[in-house]
Symmetry: C2
Subunit: 188 residues, 2 copies
């Protein structure tokens, strides 16, 4: 049975354990074994900083064990995906794991960045030269986030999908997640 | 001569090429060959989305060639590092490259997240149970960003340093970058 590392910002939710169980249950339903970040047994550390490093080592070990990563790339506290999830996707790609990802927000990266950091109407900007209020270039590739993310998934022959979840279910809606499991199950 | 992939959000600056040259010049000064993301020759693509993927492939190829990554992890458009840079750090770690990183902001992650997403005085919160206005847990490990970032650098035996740059030089100050080059040069 293939194992899937379940990367995503769900670990920060008040009901992190419950959503982890729901994701693992769906994995089983499609014939996979899901590994949720907080599954790894963390040894008690003698201070907070060491506990952070211990969690990191535990998660890296789970990724090393997994065959597949499904990264929840829904924007988290800002315009991009959760930084930990993005790191884990890169690590999984470097380790040759099968990369899959989803976002519960369908609005593209350019639109989201412009909404938060743009100045005036986006339609008045020149294509290929769109910059935020600080003069920093905004990517215009029609992608969902920084190009390295979807680019890496594509280069690894992986899967990426989006779904427009209701705002109150943005971190808990599993429609796109389940769609990926269906696609993974039907692969040879 | 060892090669260093120079990951960071400098690629979005109006003077991206110039800062790339400055970083590569510093690399040469310390006996390294720097590879800047936009150095890879991108074939003309037939549409914007394909250009995005082509840049991603070019950057992944540079990282595969490099011995070392130095990631500029300064917060970018929000509380965390640039998503592309974080992906590249993870990829480099997965490929067994030597990981190094720096941030030009010394304030820790908890303080930054609280400032942007907290509610009321931070001092009134209970240790180990700090959550943002949406109820999402905030990491309390005394680290500079999501724990996977510094955790991965440490697990890879790498280097991480911070420097408090002036706000107007947050993306161009090379003090911490040069400190890493010095440390890399003195390694056996």
């Amino acid at each position: 049975m293939k194992t899937i590392y379940l990367a995503g910002p769900e670990v920060f939710l008040p009901d992190a354990g419950e959503i982890g169980q729901r994701k693992k249950q769906l994995c089983r339903q499609y014939g996979f074994c899901g590994l949720f970040p907080i599954d790894s047994e963390i040894q008690m550390a003698d201070d907070h900083e060491n506990l952070g490093y211990a969690i990191s080592r535990g998660n890296e070990a789970l990724i090393a064990r997994a065959d597949i990563i499904i990264a929840n790339l829904t924007p988290f506290r800002g315009v991009s995906a959760d930084a930990g999830t993005v790191y884990e996707l890169g690590l999984a790609r470097g380790l040759g794991k099968f990369p899959a990802g989803y976002s519960n927000v369908q609005q593209d990266y350019l639109q989201r960045v412009w909404q938060a950091f743009g100045d005036g109407p986006l339609s008045a900007q020149s294509a290929g030269e769109i910059r935020d209020r600080q003069g920093l270039k905004i990517e215009e590739f029609g992608l969902q986030d920084n190009l390295m993310i979807e680019g890496g998934i594509r280069a690894g022959g992986g899967l990426f999908t989006t779904h427009d979840a209701r705002p109150e279910e943005i971190f808990t809606d599993l429609t796109a997640f389940e769609r990926l499991l269906q696609q993974l199950q039907s692969r040879p």
